[in-house]
Structures are given as structure tokens and as C-alpha cells.
Symmetry: C2
Subunit: 291 residues, 2 copies
Amino acid sequence: MNVEQLQIFLNVSQSRNFSATAIELGISQSAVSRAIASLEDELGIILLSRGRFGARLTEVGEQMVQHARQIVQTREQMERDANVVRGLDGGRVRIASFRSAATHLVPPAISRLTQRFPNIEVTLIESAPLEVEQALREGAVDIGLVPLPRASEFETWEIARDEFVVLLPESEAPHAEHLSWEGLSRYSFILYNYAECTSMVREHWARTGQPFEVAYEIKEDSTILSMVAQGLGAAILPRLAALPIPTGVRSCKLPVPLERSIGAAVVAGADRSPAVYQFIDVLRKKGMFAE
Amino acid sequence: MNVEQLQIFLNVSQSRNFSATAIELGISQSAVSRAIASLEDELGIILLSRGRFGARLTEVGEQMVQHARQIVQTREQMERDANVVRGLDGGRVRIASFRSAATHLVPPAISRLTQRFPNIEVTLIESAPLEVEQALREGAVDIGLVPLPRASEFETWEIARDEFVVLLPESEAPHAEHLSWEGLSRYSFILYNYAECTSMVREHWARTGQPFEVAYEIKEDSTILSMVAQGLGAAILPRLAALPIPTGVRSCKLPVPLERSIGAAVVAGADRSPAVYQFIDVLRKKGMFAE
DNA sequence: GCACAACTATGCGAAAAGCGAATGTATCTG
DNA sequence: CAGATACATTCGCTTTTCGCATAGTTGTGC
């Protein structure tokens, strides 16, 4: 018998609905069905009577809900006690992040962290990569999010890859899926003048041998998006910097892919509190489906 | 998190010893090691400090033991409640069995049954197969253990197979592993005159074309064993009937194997109480390693 | 009474977890 | 330093779990 099964049972007993529970818990309906069936099998009794209406608790089911709740609560208490011992109760994580990560990557990670460890205090500062580094050096923050690679004074982990995309005015955009360098070079470009991105794009383009006509150099990604929407030119931005893509702008893949790497950095050698360690952990897992 | 893991943890916390716990619970030492490691991993803490001395609870471990005990007890309560609903609390199983099964198969099954369902009342009558049938017909017992096959008035399940073995006086026994029909036919035989066994052995032998010299016909398996030990002849018995094999007697495989099938029988169509059903269930699983 | 809608159950293949046996590692004993 | 003791790890294998797609079941409305 498995505590997760009991949790599933509790959810079903409240929602009276296998499928809804599956969505709540982020698993498939069949997993819910099997979890309940497995419990019923183990206990040799029917917990829920199913039908068109969903699933209602049987009489024994009612009794078992009490016990199940007891177990699930005890299990939660175990986790809380463990977190206290681990120093994850009341810890602190001070984060500095450059803009796109601070917008799209950090909030879900913070959310997940505070869900698991409600008493961790989190602060977030948004600033440019070099200022993030400075804040780290000064000890003003515990962890920084920056594009990789970084100087060796920092210890880093890659947490996401961010692909550069081409942004075109929707009015002029070809509906063809595949852009060629020749096709692209007809546009005048708005160059993203931000940290390493500028040089990465210039160098990537240089390798094509095509002309690269830069009409504007802009630091603000939102400004660039507006300009593209207005038909003032095309731009090449990391996808995260371009999100959300406004109406009037079309995003396409580059003819040859280009990625930047986004990482978490801490001062090398500094001892990290358990809370910081957990945040790194969450980021690493979060990275799986952060685009 | 799994209730079985918590049970393992509790056992270890008491015995302070992984290997001893493994034996107690009938699992391998590596299973214990991994169960603990898995708990520690999930909670992010060390529960037991290991060493040459065994395994001692850490401070957090002490706390966790409390919670674990709570959970395991609640789980046991769930089972008890479920059994009450299933009618397995206070049920009754009346068993009739022929001798060898009553001696070697039924006791461990009863033991397992009463361990799982302490309030089931069990009675056992030992008698010959035909009397077992009669007791079933009269409703004097709920379930009978008999050699298979049986008449269709009974519903049966095979619960074990029992191989016939040759019993030889140790003094004259050849040390060769493989007996031939020719070698065997030099002995004079003590025929086991019991139910189907007699005819099964006669027919099996008849297929060899060798002479079969029967010096005695005896009903009691223990008498046969004594006679073999005294060097009065050889015998062919189902292994269960021959157990335990006394000193002075050697048991060998037949040149061509012969098995009888042992089954549980109930009156066809009669409704079986949950307790009887459980007993059949236990027998079927028990059958796996009953020889 | 039939088709539909709302649910749950199930077969299947892939992935993950679990197990036992053997082996490795660390520590204490003499 | 050899040997004993006890937990950890690895390997090959079996069992379980999961998600997907699909089938089955049961009220409801026409």
C-alpha cells in the first residue's frame, strides 16, 4: 500500500470523479483507475461505486477515507519535520536574474519551491547579467540566473536552453515554413543589443557569408517586438526574450539553429544554505519543460 | 512512499540490524537496505546511522519512527475494518483432509490464515478421501482436501502436485543417482494400499513391461517406512506420504516421473463463506512451495 | 428503445521499480 | 594483517506502473 494511492483516493472521494482527479494530480485517468482498483484489491473491498454520475463512496469507503486522511496527514507531518531538520523551514533564497529568465523561468520555480517549503523566504531582483554577477560577488544575493558560460569565479549549472528565433512582421511574412539565409537577408534587421546575444547573432550570421543589414540597435526586447509589429524590420531574439509574441509578429526558426544556455550561478566555494540548494534542484527539474 | 517501507523501517529501528530484519520479513538484505535508502532519499534526511554495530536511529529517525508507527497502525486498522466488512471477522472454516495433506499442507495454511484473520475459527478433521467426500456432502465440513480428479459433484482446485518416490533400504541402496526399471524390479515391493495411489503405481509399473513383485500390501505409510527401514522391501509412495523420511530409508526419483494431484474440493453450487474463500486462496498460494 | 454523453476499465508496449545473489567496502577484533 | 561482521552496490532479471488508445458501462433524452 502506497501513500500516493491513498492521496489519489482522497482526491477522488472529494471530487467524485476519476478524470477530474487525474487532471488535478497531473496523471492519467488510467493511473487513477488503477490506483483505486489496487487499493480495493489489497483490502478486498469496494471503496467507490462507479457510474454515469462519477464515483461515490461506499459505506466502507467512508470509513477508509478517515484512515486514509490520517495516513496522508501523518505523511505530510513527516515531511514537515524532515524539512525542519534539513533547515528548509524558514530558510532564505535571494535571487538575482536577468530579464527573460526572471520573467519566464523563475516565477514557476519559486512557486514550486514555496509550495514544497512554505516557510522559505524568497526575494527576486531583476538586473542585467553583469549586475547579477556583481550582486553575487557582494553577497547581496545567494544565487544568480545568467546566460552561460560564466567566469570560473562562479559555479554554474545549466538549467535551460533557449533557442534564437526570427521575428518577422506578420504582414510581410512568407507562409513557407522554411526560411533561407537568402530570404532572410532581404530584411533590414533590428539588432538585439543585450549582453552576449548581440555578438552571438552577429557571429552566427557572419558564418553564412550573407550580408547583414542592421537598421537599428535596441536594448529593450519589448521595443523590438513593437517595431517588428510595425513592419520596421526583422529581428533575431532568444525565444524567452520574445515571449509573449504579440499579434502582428510571426516567429520562425532560424535556417541553422542557434541556442543560448541559461544557467544558475553561485559564488564558487561559498557554502550554500539548504534552501538555495533546493532552489537549484527545482530549477534543474523545471528546466525540463521550460522553453 | 510505501507502507511496506515504513514497516521495514520500524523493524530495523527495533532490531538495529538490517540483515536480521530481512530474515524476519522474509526478504533479502538488499531489499531492506534499499527500502531505508529510499525513505531517506524521499525525506532528504538520514534516518539511521550505520556502522559495524548495526544501525542506530538518528535524532530525526526517532521522530520519524513515531510517525511511521502511526501510519503502519492506521493501515492495520484499515485492514481490520475491511475484514469485518468482508465477513472475515469471526467466520468459520471446517476442513476435512486425507492424511498426507492434513499433515504437511494444511497446518501451514491454517497458520497463515489465522495470522491474517485472527478471528476466523478453524477446525480440521483427518480422514480418508471417501470420508472427506461424505463429510462434504453432509455439510459437516466446508472444504475438503483430496487427491484429484474428483467427481463433478464437487468443485475443485489443484493446490499441489506430489511426486511419487521410490523408498529403498539404505543398507542395500545403490549410491547411483539414476535408478532403472531393471534395477528396481530386483526388489520385492511393499505396495501402498491407499486410495488411488495403489492403482496409479500398478498402472505406471505395468507400462514398463517389467515384473512387479508385490510382497506386502500395507495401508499405513508409517508402517511401510518401518518395513523398508528393516530391509523388507522397496516401496513407491507419494513424497508427502513418506515425509519425514526416517533414518535407514533412502528416497530416489522414479525412472519415469509419476505425480498425483492434490486439490481442494467444495460441494458444487454451495455458497462459500468469505472465510472458506480465503482459505482456498491461501492454499493456492501455499501450493507454490509445498512439496 | 436507441443513440448519445459521461465515465470508468482494460490491453498493450515502454519505462521504471523491485528483487535476490554475488560482490564491494568499511570497521572492529585479535 | 587476516578474519569476521555488517551495510552498500551492482547485475541480470522479473514485476509493476504508466500513459495511450480503445472498449465497456450506465444513465438520459428524444
